[in-house]
Symmetry: C2
Subunit: 241 residues, 2 copies
């Protein structure tokens, strides 16, 4: 499986994904699930993926092919689209078409080939937007009321987000929140694994302002994870029933 989470805050977009991919328990591999489409100062788009690797890779390859196509226009290239809504529509259409084709190829298997994506970004002159794109190509958007979106193994890491994230959350606190949300997921579900990819698109920068890969041996993450465990245990001990 996968865990990807995105926050849409007043201060910017904060995105985190894991990298574990598995076909059965005996075939585990590491694949990046976070992809960048950027023209610094003009537009920054981050796409995170969950689901069948053949569907997500082919969808991304087609999005890239469309970008580099000489005939590309605003209806086919996410780097030329006029709005983030148009970006989401192009990605949704490409995902849906790819998924249907691969599902057709896999018809004789009992296996489902499906995938979903989180798309976040901003274009100069436009608003920051973040969408969750479903396998069928339709999508929903993060709002003031629900400033986060998750794909993959989303349940373990939801309680911490429900408690601490609001649109007013700072970028520093938001990084903490998504990393702790991921930490709970990593501990409770083997199908989600390190390394992690973290990205921030600060409001109106129209650029990926922070980009960090957090590896197995990352001292900061290990320290934060240990401190959180200790704090949870202390809180647990101190609460009376």
């Amino acid at each position: 499986m996968t865990y990807c989470v995105g926050l849409k805050l007043n201060a910017g977009l904060v995105l985190l994904s894991d990298t574990r991919t598995n076909a059965g328990l005996d075939n585990i591999a590491c694949y990046r699930k976070m992809f960048f489409f950027e023209e610094r100062g003009e537009r920054a788009i981050v796409v995170m993926t969950a689901g069948s690797l053949s569907v997500t890779q082919t969808t991304l390859a087609r999005l890239n092919e469309a970008i580099h196509d000489e005939m590309a226009d605003e209806t086919t290239s996410i780097m030329k689209a006029q709005t983030m809504l148009q970006v989401a529509t192009i990605i949704g259409d490409t995902l849906s078409r790819t998924r249907r084709e691969i599902a057709e190829q896999c018809r004789d298997l009992r296996q489902q080939a499906s995938a979903s994506m989180i798309v976040a970004g901003q274009r100069r002159g436009g608003d920051m937007r973040m969408y969750l794109i479903y396998p069928e190509g339709n999508f929903i958007e993060a709002t003031e009321d629900t400033p986060f979106l998750q794909i993959g193994e989303h349940k373990y890491g939801k309680p911490i987000l429900d408690r601490v994230v609001t649109p007013a959350t700072s970028l520093a606190d938001a990084q903490k929140a998504v990393l702790l949300s991921m930490d709970s997921t990593l501990r409770s579900n083997l199908s989600v694994g390190m390394p992690l990819d973290l990205a921030i698109i600060a409001r109106d920068a129209c650029a990926v302002t922070t980009r960090r890969r957090i590896g197995e041996g990352d001292a900061d993450f290990a320290r934060m994870s240990a401190a959180w465990s200790a704090a949870l245990r202390d809180s647990f001990v101190n609460i009376s029933i």
Copy 2:
């Protein structure tokens, strides 16, 4: 949905269930999901249920019918079974048969009729045992390494259990752990709801030593829940990245 959790500790068995049942989002009702079979000092068995209400109610009705049948013997009545293993086998067989019958009746619907159960207890002279019974009637048992079992919406409440529960956990701490695990689930998933049923079978008592219904207005639970939220937020604020 449902959330039920059971801990098997050196000091005893600790069980907690919610009561929300829904058929679609517009048909929500409150049904007990925790059932007691007790002959104080001789045997205490607690059954918790998740899944299709028609399957779980019919299974429980059949288990009760078998107990009150004059012809009942150790192979049909869980109050006469010689061991907890035999209890689990009887319940598994009854669940599996009921599920198959109802699934057959529902064949024309696209809906699945399925259910699973947690069965925990002790018989005088025997060991405490706790089983998770699958819809097919087979089961797994809680062990030293994994002293808890969950059914229903188990993911939200798993991180806290993973962090704090070991076989050496005291009964007081265990109550805290299951209540906080439930609290996270209640906050993040609407399909799990109050009131809650809590039961404890202290080691070698062969009786349900604590039995508590925790309602919407329960002051102790509200205080604990608020204290936990505050502690989590404080811990969050104090952790640096």
